[in-house]
């Protein structure tokens, strides 16, 4: 007889029984985890673009780390104070540096990052156009001879032996 197992089973069963009893007494629509849904919506929107500083690579919105909880609470406070999204981000950057932003600010340091791909695309398009033109130029040289040019060649070949 597996005593620890039976004990666990009984504990589990008792728990569920108690739960069922409570359920019949107080069943209702679940409350949102957040006390203020409007603030929470703004929080999610802002914190999705912020980094959890103690995680390996998670956003502030999804991390369950202690510091992440604290920082989310801090952001809620700032939202209640009617601070704008930019002001809240600036508040955190002041304390933790650029590292905390998942969307890098557009400044000279990040111009290459933000504009590089599109500059590269432009180069690609230009390169493509040049390449196509090059291919067409080669083709022109390889055009078959016109009738007149053919006669000229025949005349040359007949009259001269020079290679």
């Amino acid at each position: 007889m597996n005593f620890p197992g039976i004990k666990r089973l009984m504990q589990g069963g008792f728990f569920m029984l108690a739960a069922a009893a409570v359920a019949t007494a107080q069943s209702k629509e679940a409350e949102p985890s957040a006390k203020e849904p409007l603030i929470e919506q703004r929080l999610i929107h802002i914190s999705e673009e912020l980094r959890c500083l103690v995680c390996q690579n998670e956003s502030l919105a999804s991390s369950r780390a202690e510091l992440a909880n604290d920082l989310r609470e801090e952001v809620r406070l700032l939202i209640r104070q009617d601070k704008s999204d930019d002001a809240i981000k600036a508040y955190l950057v002041e304390r933790y540096g650029d590292f905390v932003l998942y969307r890098p600010e557009v400044k000279p340091l990040t111009w290459l990052l933000w504009f590089g791909p599109f500059a590269l695309l432009l180069c690609g398009v230009v390169g493509m156009a040049l390449y196509v033109r090059q291919r067409q130029a080669v083709q022109k040289l390889a055009q078959p001879l016109s009738e007149k040019e053919r006669d000229q060649v025949r005349a040359l070949l007949k009259n001269g032996e020079s290679p």
């Binding site: 679940a30 985890s33 650029d98 340091l109 791909p117 291919r135």
Partner: protein
Amino acid sequence: MIVEIGHFALILATCVALLQAVLPLAGTMLDRPRWQALAKPTALLQFALIVLAYAVLTHGAVTDDFSIKYIAGHSNSLLPLPFKVAAVWGGHEGSLLLWVLMLSGWTVAVALFSKTLPLAMVARVIGVLGWVSAGFLTFTLITSSPFERLIPAPADGRDLNPLLQDPGLIIHPPMLYMGYVGFSVAFAFAIAALLSGRMDAAWARWSRPWTIVAWMFMTTGIALGSWWAYYELGWGGWWFWDPVENASLLPWLFGTALIHALMVTDKRGGFKAWSILLAIGAFSLSLLGTFLVRSGVLTSVHSFASDPKRGVFILIFLALVVGISLTLFAWRAPKATLGGKMGLVSRESMLLANSVLLVVATAAVLLGTVYPLIVDALNLGKLSVGAPYFNAVFVPLMVPVVFLMVPGGVAHWREARWAELAHAMRWPALAAVLVGLGVLFFSGRGTWLTAMGMALATWVVAGLLHQIVMRMQKPGRIAPSFWGMHLAHLGIAVVVVGITLVKGYEVERDVRMGVGDTVQIENYSFELMGVSEVNGPNYKALRGEVLVNKDEKLLEVLYPEKRRYFSSNMPMTEAAIDSGFFRDLYVSLGEPIEGERPQWSVRVYYKPFVSWLWYGSILMVLGGLLAVSDRRYRKSPAALAA
């Protein structure tokens, strides 16, 4: 004793790999057919030895041999058997052994399926693969041997990371590695073409099937990884632009460009140098990915335990392989001749645009991934580049790629006329515009992004259906590659629908639930019946019982869990998912909440069409399979010449 046999087999394999690397290539340079003929036997011998080494390590895992340091670090006596087998690739050293095993396997496949190739070509290809293999084996033996002993052996192992104790682990890494390693074949063919000086259509024709198969595995690996993250991590996300995810996307993007460029080189002799460059690039990105994931230069949820010493070794290997390849390219490629006539509007130019766009998209993802490193290396501070950047840059670049699928299929080779093209695409255009407007004005929350996504997908699907209908009206047998192309493109359209609709219409409810409480989303209601404690083989869990009703009628009972594994104190969420063709219902159990009555934090998601992401990937892979099955790849050279 057995362990030492495995170790010795690996050492022998390295020696054989060096022979495989040196002799056949020397044979082509010194015109010694006997040395060239050594390519196949050395490849087979190397494979046999590596299989032996791998079998030894697996045996150690299955028999709980904790005197092997790697097994002690990644396995545990309580671990269920399938996970013990999978634990062999759950950590850095073992996964390298898997890499090397697969590389050797691909080499043997090339050796066996190359009867129609000239001996010198086979010798070169297998020789190049030998160099790559020798490099990886040396790296493994010197810095990351899985056969290191732990004396005295501990009583039990540290256990496999709980996040990995899941069927997804059994299949995702092997598929992914098959893809990464598979691109080495196209790479070897490209190098062989450069070495021989013959960069004509032949190398492209030979590489195409290999490249498509590698691409199929890569697609499978990436899709599995995404699916695994979706159901394992507990909050319904399926792509995070994490550096390790990006590391797998980069070779995939290049591989896709390569498949399309090879078409041109094969059929029209154009883009010779460009295809070679793409082939070198795809495998280089595989190697770069290996470096990024194992060296510790980037922070990621996925990275293996990092060791800068390993990082140095991999970087040197990467620098040598890619550096030598690109030097060879700069030297030999200029001699490649230009292809035939190519109009500004033609199938070739569409495929060229495809290449350009995919290369720029790859560059964008690469730039975003390494930018923090660049800024740090220049002592300009530390910054993060996350999902907001990648979404903003990647999506606009990929839209034209998907758009071009239709004109690319319709346009003739050499020369196409605008008017003809426009006329051929009028029905898809109309369908796309109608769907876009419909979404924008008639669906409840339709944003212009959702409308554009659906319009794009409609454009592709209508386009390919139209082309199929037109083609079937013509006489003649339709080649499997025709079906393959359209099936793969259909797969992409399906993925686009999935992404567009899930992002546009998903609903998340983050609530606190006591027993008997309900949550309502659309016409589904979720009621928490209770939470109990359960025991697993190597964990304890809280299991919730959630009754799901649709339109007031019972649909299903879901059991989300929150597990605590004995080996680590990390709590793990096992979400409960009711997966359907048109929507997923996703329930995730959180922590208990203090209060007067027992409550738990629960997250409930309604995710429309999310399964289409995986269905689309399957279609893409099937499309690749059809394309590869085309008989022209199996004909003898005599029949091809006829």
